[in-house]
């Protein structure tokens, strides 16, 4: 009997739908068809719900656990480490948010973090506002939370160049739809924005304009989507990573105040000779790409500016199969 009963992760029915009906079919399709096991990095929580669900598909876990609010702030990470060992999966657990550990290269206990193999499955949660900065352990380095994505992509490329395989990876990214209006407005009016982002934003802005200031909590989802898409593409371009964006899934977590955005991305390292990565679908922001989770399951929910087309395939496997030939050949992911 364990004396530790607290859990760092509270599941909810909507998240369960996303995990089981959206993520799992796609992960299993790739696992079964291409005979691969995932090297997982993420925030699985002390109960390891997703790791347990995908246990047969996972060979290694790199987990992050937050400091517990209890007196023993290490209680969650201890429980996570214990459960990981009970589960018998090779892995390591770091104390601290993944953004902090990845950017600083060490966890709260000083355990050094260094990626030395390509991670094939990221399950990342940005529970805090994505535009907020990290309060680092040593109070010396300040970085925006989403900078961690840049760091992991850089590390991925380095590991890929070192080992030559595997050449693909999957990112599951969950973000709270909460951002400062002034901040996002400033970003979206920048002249550095991609042409497709600008065009999408001008349509959306005319229908659903962003206020001058104040927090955007659960509203103007299009702006966060545009912001993330533009940022991510910038990050992928530098290490030459081609990416398939799946429709973004919106769902409410425990709090009804702000919905969560869940992004699934299939990424492939580019070769040196093809320096320009490909992004699929080509007109991602404007084609229908928003889904919503409610009690009936996953349904289409258009953002302003998206083309409404109810005949689109809602299955993640079907979505992937439209672009599969680019990512595979002869039954292998290349």
């Amino acid at each position: 009997m364990s004396k530790l009963n607290s859990s760092s992760f509270q599941d909810n029915p909507n998240k369960k739908i996303v995990r089981e009906d959206w993520n799992t079919p796609f992960l299993r399709y790739i696992h079964d068809k291409y005979n691969i096991k995932y090297r997982y990095m993420g925030f699985p929580g002390t109960d390891l719900i997703d790791v347990r669900l995908w246990k047969d598909m996972i060979e290694e876990v790199i987990a992050f656990e937050l400091l517990s609010p209890e007196v023993d702030y290490r209680i969650w990470v201890k429980q996570l480490r214990l459960n990981l060992k009970k589960l018998g999966i090779q892995g390591v657990a770091y104390l601290g948010s993944f953004e902090e550990v990845v950017i600083l290269g060490k966890d709260y206990d000083g355990l050094p973090y260094k990626q030395n193999k390509v991670i094939t499955l990221y399950n990342l949660d940005f529970c805090n506002e994505i535009g907020s900065s990290i309060e680092t352990i040593d109070h010396r380095k300040k970085a925006l939370r989403y900078e961690a994505i840049r760091v992991i992509l850089r590390d991925q490329k380095r590991c890929f160049q070192k080992t030559g395989e595997p050449s693909y990876f999957i990112i599951l990214l969950t973000i709270r739809n909460q951002i400062d209006a002034g901040k996002i407005k400033k970003f979206l009016s920048s002249s550095n924005l991609l042409a497709e982002t600008s065009s999408y934003c001008s349509i959306c802005e005319s229908i659903n304009p962003i206020p001058e200031s104040g927090p955007l909590v659960g509203t103007h989802a299009w702006s966060l989507k545009a912001f993330l898409y533009d940022t991510l593409i910038g990050y992928f371009k530098n290490p030459n990573i081609s990416t398939l964006f799946f429709p973004v899934v919106k769902y409410y977590g425990r709090s009804r105040r702000s919905p969560m955005f869940h992004w699934m991305m299939f990424c492939k390292f580019g070769f040196e000779e093809s320096a320009n990565p490909n992004f699929f679908p080509a007109r991602y922001l404007e084609t229908i790409n928003s889904l919503c989770v409610d009690s009936s399951g996953i349904n289409i929910r258009c953002e302003p500016g998206e083309t409404e087309n109810n005949s689109q395939d809602l299955s993640p496997v079907g979505w992937f199969q439209q672009f599969e030939s680019f990512f595979s050949s002869n039954g292998r992911l290349v």
Binding site: R81, L82, K86, G88, Q90
Partner: protein, 538 residues
């Protein structure tokens, strides 16, 4: 007859648990050794050891324990293991984590089990109970923590409802590690070094003699167990410490195997590698032989040093003595064997074994020495052979080379017998080269001797000339000192063709003038004049 005292459950206090565990397991890492021993005794094929700041896991794919065996395993000081076959047999090892962690969970199942079994030990509660009891004692209250009661409260065996293990084997998880063990357990080098001393690990794959030694292990039924160690995010297969670069030249000599026995019994065998240069091994940690029993190191590599007549051999070799005799048991501190008659007999065989080993090492190194000498000689002879024509006229240098060749001759003769056996071709080449060089030097020195005589004659003549008035021809000769060969020919009225004149000019300017000093050139002109004078006289 003395009265027998009857002991009851209340006569054994709970304090015996920390006394036993602290006394037996002085090193914090000893708990790892105990669980690894259990894995080896369970005939596992591999072991995984994962350490992080909060938990330790030792997992094996051995036979595992069924529910009844798990209940026996928790008994204190009672073991069904056979000391002749098994490493752990004292029945205490399962409690060795007392000073390491708060909680121990052992998940185990056999091939035929339908469920996984769980042994749980709550060391934290035991420590709290004992601390409370100490407080009671301070207030003069009687103890109420007896060993039996304590164990009943902290240990249980149950069916694991979560069915954690789905195949045969054992997974021991020590959680909530004590703060004081953190540094030691998270020090990679320290843990690896410790494991090398307690686990029969395989050799590094790139160690060139790994397979031949492991083949011998197989023949001798000495099992090795691969261990994967993970500390934090570093994960590696742990191996024995031997590597090719520990030898000066990458390890030219394959290992030799020695059986260690006397007329009454067999004690074990040894594998030994000697350095491939006549020098001590560079890596001081690997010099000498390590005695191993069941993977445990007995003492250190200096244990056998006193048995070497020439102690330098102890430092030039590396290897292991694998003890297989059942009566030779490591003492608790692993510093020696338990004292018994077998140990005494084993000690008596050591001088003979070390003697054989030294003879073998000496022969190998003699051959090495002969090879080294031959290689050096060949280099020197090739240089001398190339140099000799240019020093043909330099008597001093010829004499120096003559001395050197004499000394080479002596060295070659000293190793001739060995070299004819092991390096016949190179030896023959050296002998021929030596002879050629010696002949050349000899003939050049004879020439120089003749020159010396001529010089002496000229000096005598010159003195005579100075004493007597010069003749007409002598006057003529002194007047016409030739500046070069063409000049000389002109003085003597010798006519040559145009081509020959060109050739002689070229020879004179580009070779003779460049090669010889003024003094040598002038001496050469004199010789030519002597020759031409003789021809004229004829």
């Amino acid at each position: 007859m003395p009265d027998r005292v009857k002991f009851s459950k209340q006569d054994i206090g709970g304090e015996i648990l920390p006394i036993l565990t602290t006394g037996l397991y002085r090193n914090k890492l000893d708990a790892l050794r105990e669980y690894i021993q259990n894995s080896i005794d369970a005939k596992c094929k591999k072991i995984e050891l994962v350490i992080d700041p909060d938990t330790i896991m030792v997992e094996d794919d051995g036979a595992g324990m069924n529910f009844d065996e798990a209940k026996i395993a928790i008994k204190l000081g009672i073991s069904e293991k056979n000391p002749k076959e098994d490493v752990g047999f004292r029945g205490i090892g399962i409690y060795s984590a007392y000073n390491l962690c708060d909680c121990l969970d052992i998940y185990t199942r056999t091939e035929s089990d339908t469920n996984c079994n769980l042994i749980h030990i709550d060391f934290r509660s035991a420590r709290l109970e004992l601390a409370k009891d100490q407080e009671r004692k301070k207030h003069n209250m009687p103890t109420n923590v007896y060993l039996e009661k304590l164990l009943e409260n902290i240990v249980y065996v149950d069916v694991d409802k979560e069915n954690t293990l789905t195949r045969a084997g054992t997974r021991a998880i020590m959680s909530d590690l004590l703060d004081e063990v953190y540094d030691e357990l998270n020090n990679w080098d320290k843990v690896v070094s410790y494991l090398r001393d307690v686990v029969p690990l395989p050799f590094r794959e790139d160690f060139k003699y790994a397979s031949v030694i492991q083949e011998k292990f197989k023949e001798a039924d000495y099992k090795i167990v691969p261990v994967t160690l993970q500390i934090g995010n570093i994960r590696e297969e742990i191996t024995r410490p031997y590597y090719n670069e520990m030898f000066d030249h990458g390890g030219k000599h394959p290992p030799e195997f020695f059986e260690i026995s006397d007329e009454r019994q067999h004690y074990g065998f040894a594998w030994v590698c000697v350095n491939d240069a006549r020098r001590v091994l560079k890596d001081t940690t690997l010099r000498g032989l390590l005695i191993k029993k069941f993977g445990f190191s007995i003492s250190d590599r200096n244990y056998l040093a006193p048995y070497f007549a020439r102690t330098v051999f102890h430092r030039r070799i590396t290897g292991e003595v694998i003890i297989q005799n059942e009566e030779l048991m490591p003492n608790a501190a692993r510093s020696d064997f338990e004292p018994n008659s077998t140990r005494q007999a084993f000690i008596r065989t050591l001088p003979k074994f070390i003697g054989q080993l030294s003879t073998w090492a000496n022969q190998i190194q003699e051959k090495d020495k002969a090879r080294e000498v031959l290689a050096d000689i060949l280099i020197v002879l090739r240089i001398i052979n190339k140099e000799l024509p240019s020093i043909r006229r330099d008597k001093e240098r010829l004499l120096a080379r003559n001395n050197l060749l004499y000394s080479i001759d002596l060295q070659l003769k000293a190793h001739a017998k060995t070299l004819k056996d092991i390096e016949a071709k190179d030896y023959e080449e050296a002998a021929i080269l030596l002879k050629e060089c010696q002949d050349f030097v000899k003939s050049a020195l004879i020439e120089r001797q003749k020159d010396q005589k001529k010089m002496e004659q000229r000096v005598v003549k010159s003195i005579q000339r100075e004493a007597a008035p010069a003749t007409e021809s002598e006057k003529e000769r002194t007047k016409d000192i030739p500046k070069n060969i063409l000049d000389l020919l002109e003085i003597y009225g010798i006519q040559t063709s145009e081509e020959m004149t060109g050739f002689l000019k070229l020879l004179d300017e580009n070779y003779l003038r460049v090669t010889f000093s003024d003094e040598e050139y002038s001496e050469m002109m004199d010789n030519l004049r002597d020759y031409l004078d003789e021809q004229v006289e004829l």
